[in-house]
Structure formats: structure tokens, C-alpha cells
């Protein structure tokens, strides 16, 4: 077993060598931040939630299985933390930046092309925000955080085939939604 693998490091943490959590933090903190940011669209909240994940890892380290998978276990903790947070806050009020975003673009010859691209991206982001929390979470896990379908399926308690079909449907919904916004 490679002693620097996530699983081996987490087993060391479980045994009390909590210094090893440093390396796991280096590997995962940005991914958790990305996941929370995708779900909350708030940087400060996302940082708090990342902190909570690592606190829970320490608190529940004894429950980590000797045959476990750290990525799956930790993302499951992250999902639960987000669920708790969402429950307390009920819903997110996505704050749209009202500043004219065209001004943020650099003054280049391709300004028009950039604006078109930004338009498309803006609509896609809007469409993402309009998805239900469950759907957004799935896209966030498999697309943005690159969690494998098999692991996502296990986390969600469904088959791998079901996950793939679900992702396909969400993609379709997103495309229809952002094309609608575009017209």
C-alpha cells in the first residue's frame, strides 16, 4: 500500500497521527471549496464550510473504515455539512452582480466575441442556479469536482447507470434552460 495515498494517510489520522491531515487538506481543501462555492455562491460561507469538513474529519475519524475510500467518505461529510447549512438557511438568495459586466471585460479587439462568450456563460450559470439543490449537487460532484460516477452512485445510494442517466437529463434540462434565457 502506498503510504502517501489518501486512504493510508487517513488511517494514520485515525490512529492519532493528526499531522497527516495537513497533506489531505492540501489535496482536498480547494475541491471542497469549489463544491461549496458551487452550491452557495458565497466565498466566505464556503471557507467556513471547508473548515467544518476538516473539523468533522477529526471528530469522526474513528468511524473511518479500514477498507474505506477517503474521497468518498470526505465528500459525503461535505454533502451532509452542506445539507445542514442549507436547512438552517432554507434557501439561497443568489445575488446577481448588478454592475454592468461588460465593463469588466478587457479592452481588446475581440470584445464582441468575449461579450458573446460571456453572455453564454452568464446564461449557463443562471441555468445552473435555477436547478434544484439535488441536481446542482450532482453536477457539482461529477462535473466540477470530477468524482467518478461509481463513487457518486454509492454516495447517493443508486446504481451507476442511474447516475449517468440522471446527469444526462440534467444536462438536457440545463441546455434547454439556458437556450431559453438566450432568446
Amino acid at each position: 500500500m502506498n503510504l502517501l495515498e489518501d486512504h493510508s494517510l487517513m488511517l494514520k489520522v485515525k490512529e492519532g497521527d493528526v499531522e497527516k491531515l495537513n497533506l489531505l487538506y492540501q489535496r482536498y481543501s480547494r475541491r471542497f471549496f469549489g463544491f461549496f462555492y458551487g452550491m452557495t455562491k458565497d466565498g466566505a460561507t464556503s471557507e467556513d464550510l471547508v473548515q467544518n469538513v476538516f473539523m468533522r474529519i477529526l471528530k469522526y475519524k474513528h468511524t473511518y473504515s479500514d477498507t474505506g475510500d477517503f474521497e468518498m467518505w470526505a465528500f459525503q461529510l461535505a454533502r451532509n455539512i452542506h445539507k445542514d447549512h442549507y436547512r438552517k438557511n432554507k434557501r439561497y438568495a443568489f445575488q446577481e452582480n448588478m454592475d454592468p459586466w461588460e465593463e469588466e471585460l478587457k479592452d481588446t479587439k475581440n470584445k464582441e466575441a468575449e461579450m458573446e462568450k460571456s453572455d453564454e456563460l452568464n446564461y449557463l450559470q443562471k441555468a445552473l442556479e435555477n436547478l434544484s439543490v439535488e441536481k446542482r449537487e450532482l453536477i457539482e460532484l461529477v462535473r466540477f469536482q470530477k468524482v467518478k460516477y461509481a463513487k457518486a452512485a454509492e454516495m447517493l445510494g443508486v446504481t451507476e447507470s442511474a447516475i449517468k442517466v440522471r446527469v444526462h437529463r440534467i444536462l438536457k434540462e440545463l441546455r434547454e434552460s439556458y437556450l431559453e434565457l438566450d432568446t
Binding site: Y37, R143, F144
Partner: protein, 262 residues
Amino acid sequence: MKKEKALELWQDKLAGEISENDEKALETFLQTNPELASECADLEQTWMLFDEIDRPEPSAQMDARFDGMLAAYQSAKKQRSAPFLDGIVSWLTRSWQVALASMVLGLFIGWWMLPSQNQTQSISQLSGEIQDMKKLMMLTLIERPKAQERIRAVNMVSDLPTADEKVIEALITTLNKDDNLNVRLASLEALLTYGKRPEVRGALVEALKVQNSAIILVAIADALVMIQEKSSVETMEQLRETVKDELVKDKLTESIESLSNI
């Protein structure tokens, strides 16, 4: 192949998890189902568009808070175990008979636990693992966007007993390509520790050709004199002809003189 199976394979393809055989089978299926092929192509475009969504980076406070949280956890753990240890110590020192008996017991345990060959091997294996971890951490941190973290990575090199090719390579790349002057200076300092190695000496001479900052050029010239790299004289002379900064010119003249007199 059924449509559902094709959709599954398409998702595999998007995630880069498809085998060569499955990909061929999928292509064949899509050729006979143009409608589905067009739908998949549209969805692929949406999937790819996600890559363009900008996500912010967390602030430096996030890492600092984690360090603080871990330190607090460790210190709380120590404090929790302290009263128990205090109790044992106070019991052992209550009278001289107990103290003497515990000393004899301690000596016996010490003799009994003298490290055997195997234990010595495990200790050296463990120490090797720790070095590997430090190295990995250094190589991870040096890629970070924050200059402070990159300096931390460069400084970690001094904790490594030896630096392998990867570490040296990372330091050389940092010296030549990092945007931040302080990070570049720190990597130069770290490289100097390995100034006897020919690849480091060669890299420092080459660095003279690519650096554009006067401070760095002066520091490299000093470093080359320090490690007495005579082969750098020619490069220094060429640089002296083209460089505009007077300070750098003077430093190069001074360094060329020092190296020529060795």
C-alpha cells in the same frame, strides 16, 4: 445497443472514462441514429462550456484557520492527557522506595525494549516516509498561486536531507519563471545549498541568460562567485555587453574579476 446504454456510454465519454471498444461501439450506434448523435453533440458543447466558468480561489485566511484549528486540536488533546500523566508522576515520586522501584523497572523495560535490527529498519523506513511526505508537500505548495505559500515550499527544502532531481528541477523552474521576486530569491538561496551539484551550477549560469530583474542578476552573480563557477565568466561577459543597468554591469565586472583570479 439500446438508447439507454448509448447514453450511458456517452456520459462515460464526456467524463473520459470510456474504453476504446465501447467508444467504437458508441460511434457505430450514433452513425445509425443521427437524431441522438446531434443531441449528444449539443450536450457535449454544454458540458465543455462548464470549463469556462470561473471559480474564485479561497482567501489566505482559510489555510491559516485550518492550521489554527489543527494546532488547537493537538494542544487540547495534550491537555486532556496531562492530568493522567501528572497523576502517575506524583504517585511514582511519593516515596523513595517507589521511586527506586520505578527506576529499576524503567531500566528493565529499557533493556527489554532495546531496538532490534527490525525496529531500526522500521525507524529508518518511517523516517524515509516522513521525508517523502515533506517532499510531496513542498512540490504541492510550490505550485500554489500565493507567493507566501511558494516561499514556504522553497524554505521546506532545507528540512530535506537530500534533494532529488524533482526538487532541484522545481527550484530551478521557480528561479526562472516565478512572477514574484522574493520567491525567486528564496529559490536561489535554496539552490545554493546544492551548489556542488553540476546540474545546479549549470542552471545558475543559464539563469543569467533568462533573468530580467537587476536584483536577481546581482544575486546570481554573487552566488556564482560563492560557488566559484569559473565557466560562468563567458556568459557574464556577454551579458555585460547587453545589459543596461549600471549596477548589474558593475557587479558583473566585479564577479568576472573575482572568478578570473581563482
